[in-house]
C-alpha cells in the first residue's frame, strides 16, 4: 500500500507544478507588462515635460535676444540721425569731429547687432532681413560723403540733406526693423504653437498608455479573480472529498479492526473449546483404554505414544488460542489478561513488566476492554522489539466517567514528533474510535510515555460473564 501511495503523491505534485508554472508565467507577463507600460508612460512624461520646458526657454531667449538686437539697431539708427545732425550743424571743427567719431561708433555697434541678429535667422525672416541689411548699407552709403564736406558745404546742404535724404531713409529703415520685429513676434507665437502641439501629442500618448494600462489591469483583475475563485472552489471541493474519504476510511478501518477481533475470538474459542477439549477427552479416553487392558504391554506403549502426541497438540492449540486472543480477556476480564501478557513477556524477554490496575472492574464494556488490551499489547511489543527497555510499568485507573491507561518504559526512546509507525497509528485509531485521547511522548534516550484516556459514559456497562 505504501509505494502506491507515494507514487500517487508524486504524480499529483508533478501536475500541480506544471499548472503552477503556467499560471506563474501568465501572471508574470501580465503584471510585468502593466508595470512596464506604467514605467514607459512615466519616463515619456518626464522626457516630454523637459523637452517642453527647454523649448520654451529657448524660444523666449531667442525672442529676447533678437528683440534686443532690433532695439539696438533702432536706437543706433536714431542716434546716427542725431549725431549726423549735430555733426552737420556744429561750427566748431573739433567738436564736429567728436560727433563724427560717435557716429562711427554707432555704426560699429549697429553692425555688431546686425551680425548677432543674423546668427539666429529664421527662414521667414530671410527676405525682410536682407531688405533691412540693404537699406542700412544704403543709409550708411548716403551718410558717407558728408564727412568730406567743408564748412560751407555743410551750411549750404545740411538742411536739404537731412530732410530729403537722411530722415526718409531712416524712416524706411525703421519701418523694415518694425516689420522684422513683427516677424520676430510671430516667431514667438509660432514657437508657442509648436509647444502646444508637442504638449498635445504628449497628452495623447499619456492618455493612450493610461488607457492600455487600465485595460490590461482590468483584464488581469477579472482573469485572476476568476482563477482564484475557481481554485478556491476546487480546493474546497477537494477538501470536502478528502474529509469524506478520510471519514469513510476511518469507519472502514474501525470495522476491519472489529471484524478481525471477532474473527480472532471465534478462532481462539474454536481452537480452545472444540479442538482442545476434544484432545483432552481423547487423553481421558486413552486412560480408560489403558485401564481396560492393563496387562497388554504392546497396547500400553501405543497408548503412551498417542498420549504424547495428543499432549503436544493440546499445548500447541492452547498457545495458538492465547496468542490470537487470550481467553482471560473474555473469561476473567481486562486485568488478568494484562497480567498474563506481562508475565508472558517477562518470561520471553526478561523485561520486568509490572501491572498496576487495582481500581479496574472485571465487567468493562467489550470494545473498551479489547481496545486497552490491544494497545498495551502493541506498546509492550514496541518496548521489547524497538526500545530494548529493561522495565515497563503499565497503569490502568478507572474513574467514574473515564478510564486512563499509561505505559512507561525506560527504553532508548525515539523522536515522537517524527517517528510514527503503523502500530502506533493502529493504537491511535482504536482509541479515537471510542472517543478517547491518545498521547505518546518520547525523546531519544529518555524512554517513552504513552497515555490514553477513554470516556466511560457512552459505554453502558454490559454483563460479560
Amino acid at each position: 500500500m505504501e509505494p502506491e501511495e507515494t507514487k500517487d503523491t508524486v504524480v499529483f505534485k508533478r501536475s500541480g507544478q506544471s499548472l503552477q508554472w503556467g499560471a506563474q508565467l501568465v501572471l508574470l507577463a501580465s503584471f510585468g507588462g502593466m508595470l512596464g507600460l506604467m514605467l514607459l508612460a512615466g519616463i515619456d512624461s518626464l522626457r516630454a515635460l523637459r523637452q517642453v520646458q527647454s523649448r520654451n526657454v529657448q524660444i523666449r531667449q531667442t525672442f529676447l535676444l533678437r528683440n534686443r538686437a532690433l532695439e539696438e539697431i533702432r536706437s543706433a539708427l536714431y542716434q546716427s540721425g542725431t549725431f549726423t545732425r549735430d555733426y552737420l550743424l556744429e561750427r566748431d571743427a573739433e567738436r564736429a569731429e567728436t560727433y563724427r567719431a560717435s557716429l562711427l561708433k554707432v555704426r560699429g555697434e549697429m553692425d555688431a547687432s546686425l551680425f548677432r541678429y543674423s546668427q539666429s535667422l529664421d527662414a521667414g525672416e530671410q527676405a525682410p532681413f536682407s531688405a533691412l541689411q540693404a537699406r542700412i548699407a544704403d543709409y550708411w552709403k548716403v551718410l558717407d560723403p558728408i564727412s568730406h564736406w567743408d564748412a560751407k558745404e555743410k551750411l549750404a546742404r545740411s538742411d536739404a540733406f537731412m530732410h530729403q535724404e537722411l530722415f526718409p531713409r531712416r524712416a524706411t529703415t525703421l519701418e523694415i526693423a518694425d516689420r522684422i520685429g513683427a516677424v520676430n513676434e510671430q516667431e514667438l507665437n509660432n514657437g508657442d504653437e509648436r509647444l502646444k502641439t508637442i504638449f498635445d501629442q504628449f497628452r495623447f500618448r499619456l492618455g493612450l498608455m493610461l488607457g492600455i494600462t487600465l485595460a490590461i489591469g482590468a483584464l488581469l483583475a477579472v482573469a485572476t479573480t476568476r482563477r482564484i475563485l475557481h481554485l478556491a472552489r476546487d480546493a474546497d471541493l477537494r477538501y470536502r472529498q478528502a474529509a469524506l474519504a478520510q471519514g469513510k476510511l476511518k469507519e472502514l478501518s474501525a470495522r476491519l479492526v472489529e471484524a478481525q477481533e471477532q474473527e480472532r475470538r471465534a478462532i481462539s474459542r474454536e481452537l480452545h473449546d472444540e479442538i482442545g477439549q476434544s484432545l483432552s477427552a481423547l487423553l481421558m479416553e486413552l486412560g480408560n483404554l489403558g485401564a481396560v487392558a492393563p496387562g497388554d504391554a504392546e497396547l500400553r506403549s501405543h497408548v503412551e505414544s498417542i498420549r504424547k502426541l495428543a499432549e503436544g497438540s493440546v499445548n500447541v492449540v492452547r498457545n495458538m488460542a492465547l496468542l490470537l486472543r487470550p481467553s482471560m480477556l473474555d473469561d476473567l476480564g481486562l486485568v488478568p489478561a494484562l497480567q498474563w501478557q506481562a508475565r508472558e513477556l517477562s518470561k520471553r524477554t526478561g523485561m520486568a513488566v509490572t501491572v498496576d490496575a487495582d481500581s479496574v472492574a472485571d465487567d468493562l464494556p467489550e470494545d473498551l476492554k479489547t481496545c486497552i488490551y490491544r494497545v498495551v499489547q502493541e506498546a509492550l511489543h514496541n518496548c521489547a522489539r524497538h526500545a530494548f527497555a529493561r522495565s515497563v510499568r503499565i497503569q490502568v485507573v478507572q474513574e467514574s466517567r473515564r478510564i486512563r491507561l499509561s505505559v512507561l518504559d525506560d527504553g532508548q526512546g525515539f523522536d515522537s514528533t517524527r517517528t510514527r509507525g503503523l502500530g502506533l497509528l493502529g493504537m491511535e485509531e482504536r482509541v479515537t474510535h471510542l472517543g478517547g485521547r491518545f498521547q505518546l511522548q518520547s525523546e531519544p534516550g529518555r524512554g517513552a510515555r504513552l497515555h490514553i484516556e477513554i470516556p466511560l459514559a457512552s459505554h453502558p456497562v454490559e454483563a460479560v460473564l
Binding site: 473449546d273 477439549q277 477427552a281 481421558m284 486412560g287 480408560n288 499432549e311 473469561d331 526478561g350
Partner: protein, 216 residues
C-alpha cells in the same frame, strides 16, 4: 463407608463420559449428576448436595468460576475441583478466590483426578503438578527480577507448620486440635503469617504455598 458423591460440570459430552468412566471404575466414587453449563451445575448441587463438584471453566451461560462461587457460598461443605485447560496463574487465583479447593489440568486429568478427589475428601487442597510447576517457576522469576528476599525465611517453625495445614485446607479449629493449641493462638499465628508474607486472604496463602512447593 458412604461413597463419595460427585457432580460433573462440563459442556463437552465426550469429556463428561470419559470422566464418568474414570471415576466410576472406583467402587467408592459415585457420579450423581452431570451439568452442561454453570447454571445447571448450581441448580443440581442445590438439589443433590454433592460432596465434590468437578467443574470446567469455559462453559456457556455461566462460567465455572462464577458457578463455583455460588455453589460454595450456598453449601460450604461441597468441595469444588476445577478441571480446566487453562494453566495460567490468573485462572488459578480466580478459582481459589471463588472457593475452589483443587485445580486440575485437563491434559493430566486421567492421572490426577483420583488423587484430587481423595485429597478433597480428606479436607486438603490439590493442584496438578504442572500447575504447581508453573506457579513455582513464575514465583521464582518474580523473586529474581525484583531481587526481593525470600519472605519464607521470616517465619518461625510453628508458623511454617500452621501455614502448611492452613494451605492444605484445614480450618482454624482443625489446626488447633491437631497441634494442641487454643483457637485464639492459631488465629494470632495466622494473622502474623499473612502479615509477614504480605498476603491478604487464605486463597492467596494457598497459592503462596503452592508456589513455594509446600503443598502439592
Amino acid at each position: 463407608m458412604n461413597p463419595v458423591r460427585i457432580l460433573l460440570a462440563d459442556d463437552h459430552t465426550v469429556m463428561r463420559n470419559g470422566l464418568r468412566l474414570l471415576l466410576e471404575r472406583q467402587p467408592h466414587l459415585q457420579v450423581i449428576g452431570e451439568a452442561a453449563d454453570g447454571r445447571q451445575a448450581v441448580a443440581l448441587s442445590d438439589t443433590a448436595n454433592p460432596d465434590v463438584v468437578i467443574m470446567d471453566i469455559g462453559m456457556p451461560n455461566m462460567n465455572g468460576i462464577e458457578a463455583t462461587r455460588q455453589i460454595v457460598s450456598r453449601n460450604p461443605r461441597t468441595a469444588v475441583a476445577i478441571l480446566s485447560m487453562h494453566s495460567d496463574e490468573s485462572y488459578v487465583i480466580r478459582a481459589l478466590k471463588a472457593g475452589a479447593r483443587a485445580y486440575l489440568l485437563k491434559d493430566s486429568a486421567e492421572t490426577d483426578l483420583l488423587a484430587a478427589v481423595r485429597a478433597l475428601t480428606e479436607g486438603k487442597s490439590f493442584f496438578s503438578p504442572a500447575i504447581s510447576r508453573i506457579l513455582v517457576e513464575d514465583y521464582m522469576r518474580q523473586l529474581e527480577s525484583r531481587g526481593a528476599e525470600d519472605t519464607y525465611d521470616l517465619l518461625t517453625n510453628r508458623e511454617r507448620e500452621i501455614l502448611q495445614l492452613l494451605a492444605e485446607g484445614r480450618t482454624n479449629k482443625e489446626v488447633a486440635n491437631l497441634l494442641n493449641l487454643s483457637l485464639y493462638t492459631v488465629e494470632t499465628h495466622r494473622t502474623h503469617i499473612l502479615q509477614k508474607l504480605n498476603l491478604h486472604s487464605v486463597p492467596e496463602l494457598i497459592l503462596y504455598a503452592v508456589r513455594k512447593g509446600i503443598i502439592v
